[in-house]
């Protein structure tokens, strides 16, 4: 990072104030620039005086959702690891030493709908980062032995996670709730598939060819950048990348027609945990029911909800209760979790969740509570955007699913219009026994 003189800082400060004064009514507080190259690569640049720090995210719109071949669950995540195994120009050790020499903080993660590679570094190293990132996305090259060794590290990651009861619970829930859609398996994958990974060398090459294409990737750059100069660099290094993304044929999940249940045993000791899930809808800011369901989940189960106060604070029957209405490309599960203190209270807690959801179908929510939640969501979003990496990580999922960040304003504008009646409609649509899967996890040891 270049050492600023105080004079330069003051100059930048003046510039910042001028920019800030030109802000629009968008909830997203930063101006940004979005470009798409002829090969389909999308670039989103969000300048912010950070100062001297840049966050660089390569967002691949492929996650475990795209693992359509039998026996290949967990491969998107495995492939994320292989992306660190180098190219002819920059073998793994050279890539690592470059990342180290520029003092970058670098990592990657995989989820159901995306894989993201991210680096935080000083702005003077931007071109070097663009060069090495564009190189590995176009020219990844690894030997079979490196591939097979990495499979061991993946199994190590699985072993690290598997002692956590929530891993087992989620694995069981997804496997029970879905029949054909790839959300049936977790991002980690089925254990049998993880064990078989060393045999998948040829498959891994085809995975790269299919999914690591410019028309399936968004580059997101936040921080101390000059958009024009940055775009020139992106064009210089990424233009030769050939398009050719082949979307996978992900089977749509047929509508669920009856409630499902499952029980899973955790080999250690834990309080029982219940997970109640309902088939929901994909992210869509124009879907009133979906946006209302996101608000409903907080109204019904967050810290100031009646049920939280009852079960956590007053009756103290559960360690916690929480909910999730996620943002997904396809139909996700809208979930409620609770860790119950005594096994004999399991049915009671489950029925309290059902009762609460039924109430939302018939009783309009208090307008003040709804307004409080809308206020909370706006402040929560704003407060999260406090460093280049935090801005980029807040946007990654939205960008992977929609290709841009316009969806933020669309979501908040729609949210502003949601009424107590809309909440009731959403409750009636989603939270029905036919859409439901109930899973309980119990510890084997007492």
């Amino acid at each position: 990072m270049v050492r600023f003189t105080l004079g330069l800082c003051l100059l930048l400060l003046a510039m910042t104030i001028i920019k800030s004064s030109a802000k629009s009514d968008s909830i997203f507080p930063y101006k940004y620039q979005k470009e798409t190259l002829p090969n389909g690569l999308t670039v989103i640049m969000i300048p912010m005086e950070s100062p001297g720090l840049v966050a660089y995210y390569s967002v691949v719109k492929t996650g475990s959702r795209d693992e359509v071949e039998p026996g290949k669950s967990g491969f998107a995540h495995f492939f994320e690891h292989m992306m660190f195994r180098g190219t002819k120009k920059y073998p793994a050790a050279v890539y690592d030493s470059i990342v180290k020499s520029i003092g970058a903080s670098a990592n990657a993660f995989t989820t159901d709908d995306l894989t993201a590679y991210h680096l935080n570094f000083a702005k003077e190293d931007l071109e070097k980062v663009i060069e090495i990132e564009s190189d590995r996305f176009q020219n990844l090259d690894y030997e079979k032995t490196a591939f097979q060794t990495e499979a061991g590290a993946i199994y190590g990651e699985y072993r690290k996670n598997v002692t956590q009861p929530f891993s087992l619970l989620n694995e069981t829930m997804q496997n029970t709730a879905y029949d054909v859609h790839t959300y049936k398996h977790t991002t980690m994958g089925f254990e049998a598939d993880i064990k078989a990974m060393p045999e998948g060398y040829e498959y891994s090459k085809s995975f790269f060819k299919k999914f690591y294409r410019p028309d399936n990737v968004v580059i997101l750059i936040t921080g101390d950048i000059d958009p024009k100069a940055t775009l020139d660099l992106i064009k210089k290094y990424y233009s030769s990348w050939e398009k050719g993304y082949v979307p996978p044929s992900v089977l749509p999940e047929p509508p669920q027609t009856a409630e499902r249940t499952a029980e899973v045993s955790y080999p250690g000791k834990t309080l029982p945990i219940i997970n109640i899930a309902y088939k929901g809808d994909a992210l869509d800011p124009n879907n009133t029911d979906y946006v209302a369901a996101r608000l409903l989940a907080d109204l019904a189960f967050s810290e100031n909800s009646d049920l939280y106060k009852k079960l956590v604070i007053n009756e103290q029957k559960v360690q916690f209760i929480s909910s999730s209405v996620p943002m997904n490309r396809d139909l996700p599960l809208f979930e409620v979790y609770s860790m119950v203190k005594k096994p004999e209270d399991l049915n009671y807690v489950r029925d309290e969740v059902y009762r609460t959801l039924e109430e939302f179908k018939t009783k309009p929510v208090d307008q003040k509570k709804l307004d409080d939640l809308k206020r909370r969501n706006k402040y929560g979003f704003l407060m999260a955007l406090d460093a280049p990496d935090n801005v980029a990580s807040s946007l990654t999922r939205l960008i992977a699913i929609t290709g841009g960040i316009e969806v933020i304003d669309q979501l908040y504008k729609k949210s502003d219009t949601i009424t107590p009646q809309d909440i009731m409609s959403a409750a009636k649509k989603y939270f029905t026994p036919e859409r439901r899967t109930f899973v309980v996890l119990k510890g084997v040891q007492q």
Partner: protein, 503 residues
């Protein structure tokens, strides 16, 4: 509007250290101010000089529970439900973090909401209600953590806890902050009230305030906290770790699918000293946290695929699985050198332990090479910029500087020292501080008795791979397989998992 935050933060970082973190504005001894003019948020870190080292014998966990009874419970003004209702629309909250030596009440709000937020925060510290129903709820969480989560859900966290508990056994550092099962069960409202009166005093607090606050807030918080009783409790003497004699191994026997290993020993090096920064370079090369540049990571994970990662530390780094850069406000006057080997297949535990010890010994014996030294030094000089990009994190570092008595800024000194420290400084510090003959080792695994036998016999630990490995790796394996790590029979302790965190 937000963009300006970082600009100001930059000014604070890069201008001369006498002005770093705005400390030139501090007019009283118990405040650390980090004004960031156009930051639309306000950050609080209220540091009470109390931690688990102050837990009375038989009441281990009292410091942590008392802190939670302030932030996660009713006040004399509002019931806990009302507190949650009032905080909810603000998207703001406050929490307590108790470590061995410190308790921090921290929180952050958008400045639009400061008038609603501030009284709630002050009530939590000044007017706690200490109700039995809140204690019951908080205690239940603590017991669930000890009896279930720690014992069964994360063998690597369990391994680290065992390492610290054994190194500091018998000292005020000798238990995890959550305490012991029996002691947590025994804590009463009277215990909490007395502890609060003794340690939450006007003379035992440092106020950290950062972001876009008005000048009036400084006066107000100073005046409000003055309502706390006067007087400072006696300082707990710095703990003396028992001397480790050779290799000492504690094995937790449980039906584990894989083996978690942590090892280490006390070091007399703290932030601010030249040796700290010299050792930081060596440690970064050996085991930079969650970074593939870590040499241990390269040897154990990258070349051999035995696990998910392998790292080393020269200061406490709790909750490492969830963080990429060090946390703030977990300061200790006595640190340890620590190696964290993430779970390996059970059949490779002896090999992995040998591989790690061999690398540590090699580093101390041979020192860093000139090229590794230069590369790592340059890496760290830039990498520390990632340690504190937000106001809240910078405020945390500013408080840490106060704890360690650092004039100016640790992060700034860190960068400066990267220009000053020479390879000879690093290799000298390694020999001076890393006495690798005496190491405490914590292992969570199955077949503890079998592993004990293997250790005391120093039995070879052959390894086979399911996939081909390069000749260089196989040749190195021949040395690792028989690398001597002799453990005396009396130096191996086997614990049952159900007995841990229990008297």
């Amino acid at each position: 509007m937000k963009n300006v935050i970082f600009l100001f933060a930059s000014i604070l970082l890069l201008i001369p250290s006498s002005m770093t973190f705005g400390e030139e504005k501090v007019s009283e001894k118990n405040m650390v101010l980090l004004p960031v003019g156009n930051d639309p948020t306000i950050s609080f870190r209220i540091w009470f000089k109390v931690g688990s080292q102050n837990d009375p014998a038989g009441k281990e966990g009292l410091a942590a529970i008392t802190a939670s009874m302030l932030t996660d419970a009713s006040t004399q003004v509002n019931s806990y439900e009302q507190v949650l209702d009032k905080l909810f629309p603000l998207a703001a909250d406050y929490s307590a973090s108790t470590s061995v030596e410190q308790t921090i009440i921290y929180g952050r709000t958008h400045k639009d909401n400061i008038d609603e937020y501030y009284p709630l925060l002050m009530d939590a510290m000044l007017k706690p209600a200490f109700k039995q129903e809140d204690l019951d709820r908080i205690r239940s969480q603590a017991l669930n953590y000890l009896e279930n989560s720690m014992r069964y859900a994360s063998d690597e966290e369990l391994g680290k806890a065992i390492l610290y508990n054994t190194i500091f056994a018998g000292s005020p550092y000798g238990h995890i902050t959550t305490g012991l099962v029996e002691s947590v069960k025994s804590i009463t409202l009277d215990d909490i009230g007395n502890f609060y009166k003794k340690y939450y005093t006007a003379d035992n607090v440092i106020v950290g305030l950062g972001g876009g606050y008005d000048a009036g807030l400084v006066e107000k918080i100073r005046k409000d906290l003055d309502a706390l009783p006067k007087g400072a409790p006696k300082t707990v003497p710095k703990p003396k770790a028992k001397a480790i004699n050779g290799l000492n191994v504690t094995i937790v026997d449980k039906d584990a699918q894989s083996t978690a290993i942590s090892l280490g020993f006390p070091i007399d090096v703290l932030r601010g000293s030249k040796d700290y920064y010299a050792l930081s370079i060596a440690n970064s090369w050996l085991g930079q946290h969650r970074n593939s540049a870590s040499h241990l990571y390269q040897v154990i994970r990258e070349e051999r695929g035995l696990n998910y990662g392998d790292y080393s530390y020269i200061e406490n780094f709790p909750r490492g699985g969830g963080r990429m850069v060090p946390p703030q406000n977990v300061c200790r006057r006595q640190q340890i050198f620590e190696v964290w080997i993430r779970p390996v297949p059970n059949e490779t535990k002896h090999f992995a332990l040998r591989a790690a010890l061999r690398e540590v010994n090699n580093l101390v014996d041979k020192g860093m090479t000139e090229s590794n030294f230069r590369l790592t030094r340059d890496f760290l000089k830039k990498f520390v910029l990632n340690y504190a990009p937000t106001t809240m994190e910078r405020l945390g570092y500013a408080l840490d500087d106060r704890f360690y008595g650092i004039k100016g800024s640790h992060l700034e000194i860190f960068r400066k020292m990267m220009d000053e420290i020479k390879l000879s400084d690093v290799n000298k510090a390694l020999k001076k501080h890393l006495k690798t003959g005496n190491i405490q080792i914590a292992v969570v695994t199955k077949d503890a008795a079998g592993f004990r036998e293997a250790l005391i016999n120093d039995a070879p630990s052959p390894i086979t791979y399911k996939t081909p490995k390069p000749e260089s790796v196989l040749n190195e394996d021949k040395e690792i397989i028989k690398y001597p790590i002799k453990v005396k029979p009396g130096n191996v302790t086997i614990l049952k998992v159900a007995d841990i965190f229990s008297k």
